[in-house]
């Protein structure tokens, strides 16, 4: 099966997991609400009784400037709150990943009890995988950045025009993004392997995954990139449609909100699609 076939197969799997995607969406909404509430309260307290309560639109320098001045002592408090919520969301994501991959692998009907049972069953293994991923990210990205910077420094230092440094800077950035995505792909496949084998030997599963990917790198990487490209295309469509939604009125505001939530769902679908394509390749290539 080629990468387009795998992509199509993966899409069918994600449709099957529609309920799972909505569960992920609910978690995202819950934590985002938690994060935004203090800020929304501050904005409401500041503006609701002012004419600006009706007039303010997005990033308004007149208002933002004085907000920064008036609440200049709040960032540590707000920052702490956001970090706390983000931390909890992160743990929730690790937890929910177990259910996503579990339901992908186990082709039975998705029910809440089975889904959350998978979440709990795989949680600590996924936590260990995350902890293993940290040094890989740091070393991988750090090493690549340093090697590239050292190798390209003579060219950058003697660049005759702005174009050279611009292109090199962007190539370095692209390289970092690619390394990041390869590492992410590795750990997605590792999660699938842990679930498929129902293995508690996380390090061994990771090792086997490395071997598997080395043997099937082209296909795995191609499928991964295809999902990434579909995300970028979706993002471009989202932005371009958003431009045409007016900024005034109740109906346009509702439309805009729904369209934005559609994009969030699309992001969640992409996340599940990554897992789905990984599962399909793992299954097909191991058979």
């Amino acid at each position: 099966m080629g990468i387009f076939g795998i992509f199509g197969h993966g899409t069918r799997e994600t449709v099957r997991l529609g309920r799972v995607i909505f569960t992920l969406w609910a978690a995202n909404i819950l934590f985002s609400l938690l994060a935004v509430l203090p800020l929304a309260w501050l904005i409401d307290k500041d503006l609701a009784h002012s004419f600006w309560g009706n007039e303010v639109r997005g990033f308004d320098f007149l208002w933002v400037g004085e907000l920064i001045y008036r609440f200049r002592d709040l960032p540590p408090l707000l920052g702490g709150w956001f970090l706390g919520v983000a931390g909890l969301f992160f743990i929730a994501s690790v937890f929910l990943n177990g259910g996503v991959v579990g339901r992908l692998v186990e082709r039975a009907r998705v029910t809440p009890s089975v889904f959350f049972s998978d979440c709990g069953h795989f949680f600590w293994r996924f936590v260990r995988l995350f902890l293993l991923s940290l040094p890989v990210y740091i070393v991988g990205i750090g090493l690549v950045s340093r090697i590239l910077s050292a190798a390209l420094k003579p060219i950058v230092d003697s660049a005759p025009t702005e174009w050279v440094s611009l292109i090199i800077s962007n190539l370095k950035f692209l390289a970092v993004v690619l390394i990041f995505s390869m590492i992410q792909m590795l750990f997605d496949y590792a999660k699938v392997r842990v679930v498929v084998d129902n293995s508690y030997q996380v390090l061994r599963s990771l090792g086997r995954t490395v071997g598997f990917l080395l043997r099937n790198f082209g296909l795995a990487w191609g499928a991964y990139l295809l999902v990434s490209v579909s995300f970028i295309l979706g993002f471009v469509v989202f932005l371009n449609v958003l431009k045409f939604i007016p900024n005034h009125g109740l109906l346009p505001a509702a439309l805009g909100f729904l369209w934005s939530q559609g994009f969030v769902l699309f992001r969640l679908w992409t996340r599940v699609q990554y897992f789905a394509t990984a599962f399909i390749i793992d299954r097909d290539r191991r058979l």
Partner: protein, 713 residues
């Protein structure tokens, strides 16, 4: 014959004397002219050695003593010694700000310096033995060598002249600030020994080169001969009058001449494209625009007419596609600065796209300025337009009206920031705020907010009000950010507030009067305030005391707004026909019920509305400039009033058959410097459309941010 009393006669004499020193009406746009005594004259020869990155120079200076003092010595600026070693005031102050940690200092062999190798009078008298470095700004930086002193054998008499011949050698810094080189590209500024300004009774005004200071020098006449490799394109302040080639040495000497400027900067780069165009006033300004401007300024159309100007652009080849954009911005700048403040008095203006990696962008010199752009630009952001208009504008504020940038930086930076905002708003409208990521302007990828300059200026100004007064000397601000945001943005916001207070036309007349009166002169803050008071026709010194000299937050707002029904029957014991009679609650209810059900009588309720205004900040309005307020009631009527704003609060009550729905203080938004505009208005019933919209956008932003995090899980 008019009968005069002695008092009238004295007044008349004083008026004549004063008018001799202050032109009551703007003089005609003229060829370059300077009131006052003869100007110093410079003739400079400089040779650029592309191999060793050095300059060898010779300076012939004829200096005129414009004062009644006998002047025994001369203090020179030797600006490039700021880049000589870590003992300089510049680098020590930069290190304190952590701007130049050791890793950011020039590399070995890339420091800059200037040495006077010989200094003598025109008659051959050698002055070298008297040459010494001095530190006029106190003992903080004893090793600084950016100011030197020589002593004359005889003092220069009042009105007398002295002719000096100076030879110097300098090493171009790799790039620290404003001057530098990269490979074979050069930008050369503050490069020759330049005397300070002699002030009568005070001596030489000649400060060290500080990290946050700029420059101050006499208006003079310059002739500059620049010798560089023949393949180099050379640009300079002034008008190019000739090129002499030396085939054997493969060099070319380009001569530039300019009268009545106080500095010369130049650039040389073999890769420049040189493009010349003419600002043709007849094509750029319509008769209707002349008439409108003349009407607003109270002048004739002849007085506002603009001359043609030769525009020279030196631009890097990789920015070739932006040539038209550069010229359009420059034309707008020449047009509006000319119409509003006075015609550009020089024949040429040179706009330089700074040579790559010379650190020379966004800087002004008389008749030459550097802009700066990127290979990929945003079509909607005002960049490079903003920097072009701003740096050209410095030709007016600093170039022509030559304030002391060490001691009153706001008089050029703040005034010019205000002017730049006006030009951009008129010529381009709001610009997109578009930061760059990896050389790509983000507004090419995402929708970004738009803003007028005064909005972003105010946002910055609010952050530094309590740190320093705007009028602090340049190197005496809390830090570089306070300097920048105070002298540029806060000063501009103060002027925007002044414009709203006086009205657009009065402000235009004020700025034009100030500019034309102080062209080719050295105004101080006091001179600016005096002009404001004169043109405004009232004493606005308090305005500057509160906002410019002080560090007070200006914040007036609504404290409370509430309406309570006035009961028809008040409770308590009242005298009725000589007897005490109690109005009980029961009785009051019964009476009200009777009145309500009376046939044909429509119940009319009466309300007492209480409005409390507050002064939250320390700055106050004064000088009979009350704050306006307005209350709107639910029957559509309004109540308007004023408050003198002196106390911390004031209470106003209104009795009428309607409840208040909203109130606003300063409804015209005159006081744009107010630190909290949101509390200037109050609605009894909260309206949350904007709040919900904003909260929804933040919510969506957080959803996506959290989803990025989920990707790592």
């Amino acid at each position: 014959m008019v009968k005069t009393t002695p008092r009238l006669a004295v007044t008349a004499i004083l008026a004549i004397l004063v008018s001799g020193f202050a032109a009551a009406s703007p003089p005609q746009a003229a060829a370059v002219a300077s009131p006052g005594p003869q100007r110093p004259k410079y003739e400079l020869w400089v040779t650029l050695d592309d191999l060793t990155k050095t300059l060898t120079g010779r300076e012939e200076l004829v200096w005129v003593n414009p004062t009644r003092d006998e002047v025994p010595d001369m203090l020179f600026h030797l600006y490039w010694n700021a880049f000589k070693n870590e003992d300089s005031a510049f680098l020590r102050e930069a290190a304190r700000e952590s701007l130049f940690s050791r890793g950011s200092l020039p590399e070995d062999g890339e420091w800059g310096w200037i040495d006077i190798t010989s200094i003598r009078l025109a008659d051959g008298t050698i002055l070298g033995p008297t040459l010494e470095y001095v530190t006029p700004d106190g003992p903080d930086h004893p090793g600084d060598q950016t100011v030197a002193r020589v002593v004359f054998p005889e003092p220069v008499q009042p009105g007398g002249t002295i002719s000096l011949q100076i030879e110097f050698r300098s090493k171009i810094p790799r790039t620290v600030a404003r001057s530098g080189y990269y490979r074979h590209s050069y930008f050369v500024a503050q490069w020759f020994p330049k005397p300070g300004v002699y002030e009568e009774g005070k001596g030489w005004n000649c400060h060290a080169y500080h990290e946050t200071s700029e420059f101050f020098a006499d208006f003079a006449d310059f002739t500059v001969h620049i010798t560089a490799p023949e393949s180099f394109v050379v640009g300079s302040s002034g008008k190019q009058t000739g090129v002499t080639r030396n085939a054997a040495a493969r060099t070319a000497t380009t001569t530039f001449v300019q009268e009545n400027i106080h500095d010369v900067a130049w650039t040389a780069d073999p890769k420049f494209l040189r493009v010349e165009r003419i600002f043709t006033a007849a094509e750029e300004v319509t008769p209707a625009e002349y008439e409108e401007t003349a009407r607003k300024l109270g002048l004739t159309t002849e007085e506002v007419r603009l001359p043609d100007v030769r525009m020279i652009l030196l631009i890097r080849k990789e920015h070739k596609s932006q040539i038209d954009r550069h010229f359009k911005a420059l034309r707008m700048a020449i047009k509006y600065y000319g119409l509003w403040y006075g015609p550009y008095p020089y024949e040429t203006v040179t706009m330089v796209d700074p040579p790559f990696r010379t650190g020379s962008g966004g800087m002004e010199y008389p008749t030459l300025f550097t802009a700066g752009t990127n290979v990929i630009t945003s079509p909607e952001a005002n960049s490079p337009e903003g920097v072009i208009v701003h740096e050209f504008g410095h030709g007016y504020w600093y170039g022509l009206v030559a304030n002391n940038e060490f001691e009153a930086a706001w008089l050029d930076e703040g005034v010019n920031t205000y002017s730049t905002g006006r030009v951009l708003a008129t010529a381009y409208g709001p610009g997109v705020f578009s930061p760059y990521f990896k050389g790509i302007p983000l507004d090419r990828l995402f929708p970004m907010p738009k803003a007028l300059d005064y909005e972003t200026d105010r946002a910055a100004a609010l952050q530094v009000v309590e740190l320093d007064p705007v009028t602090a000397w340049s190197w005496k601000f809390y830090n570089g950010a306070s300097y920048g945001m105070n002298v540029y943005m806060r000063a501009s916001t103060i002027l925007n507030t002044l414009e709203r207070l006086l009205g657009e036309e009065a402000m235009m007349r004020l700025m034009r009067t100030y500019h034309m009166r102080w062209r080719f002169r050295y105004p101080t803050t006091a001179d600016f305030i005096a002009t404001v008071n004169e043109v405004a026709g009232r004493d606005l010194t308090w305005f500057f005391d509160e906002l410019l000299f002080a560090t007070h937050i200006f914040d007036y707002g609504i404290g409370r707004l509430e309406s309570a029904e006035i009961p028809k029957h008040k409770l308590g014991v009242f005298e009725v026909a000589g007897l005490n009679e109690e109005m009980t609650r029961q009785k009051a209810r019964e009476l009200e019920a009777e009145e309500k059900t009376a046939a044909g009588v429509k119940e009319v309720k009466s309300y007492l509305t209480t409005l409390t205004l507050r002064r939250f900040g320390e700055a106050k309005v004064r000088g009979h400039t009350p704050l306006a307020f307005e209350v709107v009631f639910d029957d559509g009527t309004k109540e308007q009033g004023t408050w003198d704003g002196q106390d911390r609060w004031a209470r106003f009550t209104f009795e009428r058959p309607a409840k208040a729905v909203s109130a606003v203080v300063d409804p015209q938004r005159v006081w744009v410097i107010d630190a909290d505009l949101s509390n200037n208005s109050y609605q009894v019933k909260p309206v949350r459309k904007g709040v919900v919209r904003l909260a929804a956008k933040l919510f969506f932003l957080l959803q996506n941010s959290l989803q990025f995090l989920a990707g790592l899980s």
